[in-house]
């Protein structure tokens, strides 16, 4: 029996009167790689952002590693946590963005060690050693002194992955990590993610890379209009979808 890393129960999220997530229930086990696919605007990014409380939720509950994310429950009411406590909870969850969001005023190495030093209180020598080791892991050992503007998109995204890993997260969230990349740069980033998966990292990946999903994912979730339409192994969902909406979507993207 493996441990549950993410336990989302009937998560609802609205922007004004528009409901973007209409009751998402999903469990992700430790070490599992889950890919989320779905049409544009279906709520994939929003769901991911709710998992580390970049967005507040309007209903339901999210447990990450056994802890209620972003809220304290008293009776049947959830009270939002203090921002200090939310910040602490986010340290255990790494996130990688479509547009990298590296800090442009810091070098690659400084990007990686900023949070370990400034947030986790690591000393400079240990942080530098960790940073160099992570750069090595993503294949950029010689790029530590480069600013993001001096790196290709693929290299920037790999630095961003290293930056997220530097806080030693138990869960990694990827929001379309290769969508902004030139096709020839996608492979390097996916390779880094594959190695991470092999090393046992729990990963939730929003992606349009069906090849990656087939090869790496333990399960694939198809989301449409803020609801889970279909869940299963990559074979079940991608090769032999049961729902009409899944079939229609896959026909369009494949």
């Amino acid at each position: 029996m493996s441990e549950v890393m993410v336990d989302a129960r009937s998560v609802r999220k609205s922007y004004g009167s528009v409901e973007v997530l209409s009751g998402i229930t999903l469990k992700v086990e430790q070490g599992e790689v889950l890919c989320i696919i779905g049409p544009s605007g279906s709520g994939k990014s929003t769901f991911l952002r709710c998992l580390n409380h970049l967005e507040s939720i309007n209903g339901g509950r999210i447990y990450v590693n056994g802890e209620l994310m972003g809220y304290r429950q008293v009776g049947n009411v959830l009270y939002e946590m203090k921002s200090k406590d939310i910040a602490k909870a986010r340290q255990g969850i790494g996130m990688v963005f479509q547009r990298f969001n590296l800090f442009p005023h810091l070098t690659a190495l400084q990007n990686i060690i900023e949070a370990p030093m400034g947030v986790a209180g690591m000393n400079a020598d240990d942080a530098k050693a960790l940073g160099l080791q992570l750069l090595e892991q993503v294949g950029l050992a010689d790029k530590g002194d480069h600013y993001p503007s001096q790196l290709s998109g693929g290299q920037q995204q790999r630095v961003a992955i290293a930056r997220a890993l530097a806080m030693k997260p138990k869960l990694m969230l990827f929001d379309e990590p290769t969508s902004a990349l030139d096709p020839e740069l996608v492979g390097d980033v996916l390779d880094v993610m594959k190695n991470l998966a092999k090393a046992g990292m729990t990963m939730i990946v929003v992606t349009h890379e069906m090849g990656f999903a087939k090869e790496v994912a333990d399960r694939v979730v198809f989301i449409d209009k803020g609801q889970i339409v279909e869940v299963g192994t990559p074979k079940q969902v991608l090769d032999n979808p049961q729902e009409a909406r899944t079939k229609a979507f896959l026909n369009k993207v494949l």
């Binding site: 580390n52 800090f103 442009p104 005023h105 070098t107 900023e114 400034g118 001096q150």
Partner: protein, 301 residues
């Protein structure tokens, strides 16, 4: 008659860049006008040059210039810190903070600086005695004559700093807004608090946008200190006009103080360029000249 393009010169051709004759002509014209002006000032019979030279390095003038520099630096520092606070308040989700900041900014931008300076300078007439304590009790922390507690120079610094804060708050706010929202999200996702994110991620990037208009503010402040003559602060212009009211050489002393103001404002360009370079690091476009930088552990602000 063969046309030029019909003759085969092979590859032995010369490329001539576009010529700009008007740049040369307008440049020459401007230089001529400037020389003419300098000549007319130097040769003017009504200006006594020996008086200009005599007072250019007079100790009162030099002391005045030192006061001017001191007041400028102090006011800009206080002003910039308050401006950052006001900008953050104005961007806050808390409506009361937003309202307070907006009120402060509107008030100090909406009244003449000269009026504010005179107000602070005359505070002693409006409230002859200052008192800090708990109202309706006998508890008193400070009590004394206003002019003792707030001498003219302090009144001047308060006036200029508060006014500066109101003006540069909008500059800082624009700088903060110019930083991509994705930066804050990335910082949050790493577990950084909002304070830490502001200090280490957002403000250093905002500086790039903030520094050029702040350079203008600095120059404006340096010149505005001359308004403190109204409340008899012994800065450069006050010193110059004290001297000229005794020797009646008004024009000469205007030239003396003008020389020092011009010198000081020109020098300010150097630190500005250094700061622009510092905060521009990493923002060079791809293929730019920026060289990778060696790792520095002492990288904290």
């Amino acid at each position: 008659m063969p046309k030029a393009q019909d003759i085969d010169y092979g590859d032995d051709v010369v490329a001539v860049p576009l010529r700009h004759p008007w740049r040369w002509i307008s440049g020459a014209l401007a230089t001529a006008l400037l020389l003419n002006f300098i000549y007319s000032v130097v040769s003017a019979k009504s200006i006594q040059h020996e008086i200009v030279l005599k007072f250019l390095f007079d100790h009162r003038i030099l002391e005045g210039a030192a006061v001017t520099v001191m007041v400028t630096v102090v006011c800009m520092t206080i002003g910039a810190v308050l401006a950052t606070l006001l900008a953050i308040m104005k961007l806050s989700v808390n409506p009361l903070l937003r309202w307070l900041a907006t009120g402060f900014i509107e008030f100090f931008r909406g009244t003449p600086l000269l009026l504010q300076i005179v107000f602070w300078g005359y505070l002693g007439i409006i409230f002859p005695e200052l008192f800090l304590g708990v109202p309706f009790t006998d508890i008193v922390f400070v009590r004394g004559e206003t002019s003792d507690i707030i001498p003219a120079i302090v009144a001047g610094i308060i006036a200029l700093s508060l006014n500066e804060a109101a003006y540069s708050a909008e500059i800082v706010r624009a700088g903060i807004l110019a930083v991509d929202q994705g930066q804050t999200e990335a910082a949050k996702s790493l577990g950084m608090s909002s304070k830490y994110t502001m200090r280490r991620i957002v403000l250093p990037q905002a500086m790039r946008v903030i520094i050029p208009p702040m350079g203008n503010e600095f120059i404006g402040m340096l010149k505005n200190t001359s308004l403190l003559q109204m409340i008899a602060v012994a800065e450069l212009y006050t010193q110059a006009s004290t001297i000229s009211s005794a020797n009646l050489a008004q024009i000469e002393l205007l030239i003396v103080s003008g020389f020092w103001y011009l010198l000081m404002t020109s020098i300010l360009g150097f630190p500005q360029r250094a700061l622009e370079k510092k905060y521009g690091r990493g923002f060079e476009t791809v293929g730019g000249r920026a060289a990778p930088r060696a790792f520095k552990v002492g990288r904290r602000l």
